[in-house]
Amino acid sequence: MEQPTNLWRDAWKRLRRNKLALAGLAVVAFLVFVAAFGPWLAPHDYLSQNLDLRSVPPQAAHWFGTDDLGRDVLSRLIYGARTAFLVAVAVTLIAVGIGVILGAIAGFYGGTFDRFVMWFTDMTMSVPQLLLVVVINASLKQPISTWMETQYLASLNPIWRNTMLADFVLVFGSMALISWPPYARLVRAQVLSIRSRPYVTAARALGLTNRIILARYVLPNAMGPLVVAVSAGLGTAMVLESAFSFLGVGVTPPTPSWGNMISDGLRVWTNSPHLLVAPAAVLAVVTVAFNFLGDGLNDALNPKGQK
């Protein structure tokens, strides 16, 4: 007997035929694995310095060489993967959360709320991203950090001493604040087209509430393009985090981030090219992987759109 089919199963079948998308998926899966098990995978302590081995090129003991303080570049890249992945996932989840809620409600109910949401979306998109992140960092980072220090001294709970926490909260928050509008627009457009479909009308005729119709019939059918957008958004978020760290408004050293590693490597690229090449290559590969995966998902979930 033939197995019953659905959108996702069909999509997976089509995705498996796309080699580039599978390669992208493999890279992303590897990134997830590295991010999750970084502390056990890293060959060295990412903070540990060895001044007798400063800026050495790749060798057996240090596959990607060492930086100008003798720290193992591979270990820092692995921890940087953790930073990149955490930031990308958290930012995308927050942005998707905001975008889906606002876009779905605006598209489903329309009216004044829809106009307000779209006006707010346009306004947010008009704000220069980098400027907004710099302002948020400059104005909020220190108060948050000071508050956390106060909490630590009161409780001596080491969680408040995690310097990455304040960085992440701010980086997540500020990036999510500028990343949600595309998701809101996408979901709104999907909901607008789905809400007049016959099965939605039928659900209404059966007396189901708007909330149930939206949650059970509209949103699940709007997910296809959203999945594609999310996969592309993850890559974009990683690049964005690297860009902010490169510019000094992201994750604070010595916490490694691919962006601040690239920034440091750029200063010494003529003498120690591996310090620039390694993080830049990793960032490039991961970004391309997310793009391949996004394209593959788009083709898989939207076969009619293929050329």
Binding site: E149, T163, P254, D264
Partner: protein
């Protein structure tokens, strides 16, 4: 006579002549080429910023580092720290060192050929002291002169303590004895300019008087043009310079902000010198000659604010210092030089070497004990430690190294770093405990060095060390300052003050500064002095 030949010149003779000419050109040609090149040599240098204000009276910034090229000073120090006459040729103190009689070089002229008079010297100093001039360091030169404060405060335009006796003589009265006042004049902080051009009727500086060829400066070169938008400044020899004639035909200073680009341009020979190149790989990129130079009385340290927790506990301070391997600190920040590790506050001055001074040891075990015995009982209850002044790759490397040493040796994990330094006024300004900054002096004198860095009246002690005050240290420095420059007691008292300060555990000693040439090996005469100036710009040549 044969066709085509001159009488007396045979074919063989002509061949010999031709061969001889070839040999002569081969042998002497390059020399002739060098001689011709020297006559028209152009020094192409890089400025790391697009400076918009080139007044020689600002006493700081990128333009200051080029002051000696186009401005004469009262006196100057050579690269060995020996004082040299310049616009002033004589300086005679009164018996109690409260007044000085200064003589102007009778040959001294401005670029327009007019004579430099004692009134120009007085006017130049007054102009530098005017608050609107915004000279960053004029206090270092004139603070001790009677009547200076009134001009600095804007309540007068005339420094009453400086009196012009005649065209070639002026008398300076000080508010107190200063045996080394003459040394304070030997710099380009308040250079000698033509007052009738530079100073307006209200006593303030005439805007942009210094731009272009106006003949109002007194150095070996004079400004030819300044295109501030494209960042190109050019100087040509001053035909009326009263010293040795400059050898260069021209100096071109071009703004290149990016250090990596600047390094490549220097490496390729497109440029030959830099104003101040600070990269961690300077020596690797451009060679030891490029960075070579004398150490100057300026040093960089990490200062503890002794009034802020946890630095208010001397045991914590000592623990934080002893936990650091300072050989590693210099290796992490300047592994190839040019700066050198130091143990002391005062450096590159007489008395720097003090056999009785005990450098801070690297003793992690004792550091751990001290931290445990402190009022905080260990690393857990220690407030977060915050550095400021971490504004360059070397500073960042040093601060990260220190933080890692504290993590490994003391278990301290909460350390934060910020680039801001002077006038730090962030929301957390009251939480900053460690300031990275330099201290130093423009005179080769240890007592002055300490007076400006650890005496309770110094900005460093009041600001970065949070009001540090040790009465014994103050008294020793104050007494040292009254001794003549060549009195061994001046040095001995300063050394004793430094030893006492050492026992207060208020700083992490880092490095003493080398004043690099920042010029390619083929450029001669780019040696600099403790005033950050090219000592003899007239002697610069390019091989």
């Amino acid at each position: 006579m044969k066709d085509g030949m001159q009488p007396g010149l045979t074919r063989r003779g002509a061949l010999r002549l031709g061969l001889g000419s070839v040999v002569a050109v081969a042998a002497f040609g390059p020399g002739a080429h060098i001689a011709m090149a020297q006559e028209g040599q152009v020094l192409k240098a890089i400025s790391p910023a697009f400076s918009q204000d080139w007044s020689p009276l600002r006493g700081g910034g990128v333009p200051y580092r080029w002051n000696s090229v186009w401005n004469g000073s009262a006196m100057y120090f050579n690269d060995k720290g020996e004082i040299q006459p310049y616009v002033l040729t004589e300086w005679t103190p009164s018996a109690d060192f409260t007044s000085w009689t200064l003589k102007v070089n009778p040959a001294a002229k401005f670029a327009d050929g007019s004579a430099i008079t004692a009134a120009d010297v007085k006017g130049s100093w007054e102009l530098s002291a005017m608050p609107a001039t915004k000279n960053q360091r004029v206090d270092q030169v004139l603070a001790g002169v009677a009547g200076y404060a009134a001009v600095k405060d804007g309540t007068a335009t005339d420094i009453s303590g400086i009196v012009v006796t005649d065209d070639a003589t002026l008398t300076v009265t000080l508010s107190g004895p200063d045996p080394i006042f003459f040394q304070r004049l030997a710099n380009h902080i308040a250079p000698i300019v033509k007052v009738s051009v530079a100073r307006g009727a209200d006593g303030n500086e005439v805007p942009d008087w210094f731009l272009g060829a106006n003949g109002a400066t007194s150095g070996p070169f004079m400004m030819e043009a300044a295109d501030l938008d494209t960042g190109l400044i050019t100087w040509v020899p001053n035909p009326n310079f009263f010293g040795e004639a400059p050898k260069l035909a021209r100096i071109e200073l071009t703004s290149v902000e990016d250090n990596v680009t600047a390094t490549q341009m220097l490496k390729s020979g497109e440029f030959q010198a830099h104003t101040e190149l600070v990269t961690s790989t300077m020596i690797q990129d451009l060679g030891a000659d490029f960075a070579a130079g004398p150490t100057i009385p300026t040093s960089q340290h990490f200062w503890f604010n002794t009034t802020r927790a946890p630095m208010d506990d001397p045991k914590v301070r000592e623990a934080l210092i002893l936990a650091i391997d300072r050989d590693g600190l210099i290796k992490a920040s300047f592994p190839d030089g040019p700066h050198q590790k130091t143990d002391t506050v005062m450096n590159s001055v007489p008395g720097e070497e003090d056999a009785a001074f005990v450098p801070y040891p690297h003793d992690p075990a004792k550091a751990k004990e001290l931290l445990a015995a402190s009022s905080y009982g260990g690393p857990e209850k220690l407030p977060k430690l915050m550095f400021v002044g971490i504004s360059s790759p070397a500073n960042e490397a040093a601060a990260q190294y220190i933080a890692e040493q504290w993590r490994q040796n003391l278990g301290i994990t909460a350390v934060d770093m910020k680039p801001q330094q002077d006038q730090y006024a962030g929301p957390d300004q009251n939480a900053v405990q460690i300031f990275r900054d330099d201290v130093g002096t423009r005179v080769p004198d240890g007592a002055s060095y300490l007076a400006g860095s650890i005496a309770s009246t110094s900005g460093n002690a009041q600001g970065k060390m949070g009001g540090y005050k040790n009465d014994k240290v103050d008294a020793l420095i104050a007494e040292a300052l009254t001794k003549p420059a060549d009195d061994p007691a001046r040095v001995a008292l300063a050394q004793e003050a430094q030893r006492l300060f050492r026992d207060d555990f208020c700083f992490i000693p880092w490095y003493k500064q080398t004043m690099s040439r920042w010029a390619n090996a083929n450029v001669a005469g780019m040696e600099k002095n403790l005033d950050w100036q090219i000592v003899a710009p007239w002697a610069i040549t390019i091989a």
